[in-house]
Symmetry: C2
Subunit: 202 residues, 2 copies
């Protein structure tokens, strides 16, 4: 799921980079995209080492991940950046939670897959600058971020229903259902903090 | 010109990767795209070190490079691969010619910008396999390659007319007009050999 997620994130971020107001910013989003494909390669390498066909392993996740992106196509540069900021932020928090559940070499692999923080800082500073230039932007981007989260949750639910083994894995690793609730709460809290950091309302 | 060329190559290859018949091949073209953006960064770094604004320096080349890509949008996976194979091949040959004209640090920079040969080998083996499965493919892709070269020459001509200083640079470095003719002849010969290597007619 993470592997196909990276491949699709590459594809969509590369396209979103066209929305940038200048070449400098366009190049930075393009580099963020390029980082996703490096992560994809790492994850596929591990699947192959486990003798798993990456194509077959990723097939069940193609439809929900594609649906997420199709329903959250950014209309301008700030929406594109907010999508990268919010999406990569939650993905990284999720990876960090998973680290505790994993043995080596998967633990090390997942630690390497976490995004380069300088890109997050770039996205954060762009969003903050736009809000300070025009405070109305905060409301629009806050709504957009809620839509991203909403669509993400819908697709996560689809995956959990279609792939009970994956849901079970997270339940077992978290201990029990209340462990999962605690995990989701931590993800929600960190997301809320990340939104507040750039002046967005959760 | 090379810098903006890399940025646009990233953008178009990332989009072309969607034409791949499976995830493995899609990832390889995506990685080729990611390599272009790394080269873009290297070239921009050098422009900045020379106190040149990359945006301003690239502006004159945006229109001809965009026109080249707009007129050569691949319709399928083999056209996309042939475009990468032919385009990167000529670009690399050009870079290698330029190395002799440059002092350090530009010489070392241009050497690093040359593409990773394993991607060229991948493109070559895909094209050869497609031709061996269906010999009619050779004719179609040979025509396509001629169109790529034709559009490339038209845009190169546009640049040479609009930017006489650049044309002059290459003339001076080559010695004189006959030096330029010899350079173009070498590029054409290597291109012809590369076409023959995969079973295409020049």
């Amino acid at each position: 799921m993470l592997g196909y997620g990276e491949l699709l994130a590459f594809d969509r971020m590369a396209a979103d980079a066209r929305l940038a107001p200048d070449l400098r910013r366009r190049a930075i989003l393009s580099e963020m995209a390029a980082g996703e494909i490096a992560n994809y390669r790492r994850l596929v390498g591990r699947l192959s080492a486990l003798d798993v066909d990456p194509e077959a392993a990723m097939r069940p996740y193609q439809e929900p991940l594609r649906a997420y992106h199709d329903r959250t196509v950014p209309h301008d540069w700030l929406e594109a950046l907010t999508k990268a900021y919010v999406g990569d932020g939650i993905a990284d928090d999720f990876f960090k939670e998973m680290v505790g559940f994993l043995d080596e070499p998967d633990r090390g692999l997942v630690q390497r897959v976490v995004h380069d923080s300088r890109y997050n800082e770039f996205a954060a500073s762009e969003i903050k600058a736009a809000i300070s230039a025009d405070p109305k932007v905060a409301n629009r981007l806050s709504m957009w971020a809620r839509r991203l989260i909403g669509e993400g949750l819908i697709q996560a639910q689809t995956v959990a229903v279609a792939r009970p083994a994956l849901a079970e894995l997270i339940v077992n690793a978290s201990g029990d259902q209340s462990g999962v609730q605690a995990l989701l709460k931590r993800l929600a809290q960190t997301h809320g903090q990340r939104m507040a950091d750039v002046g967005l309302n959760n």
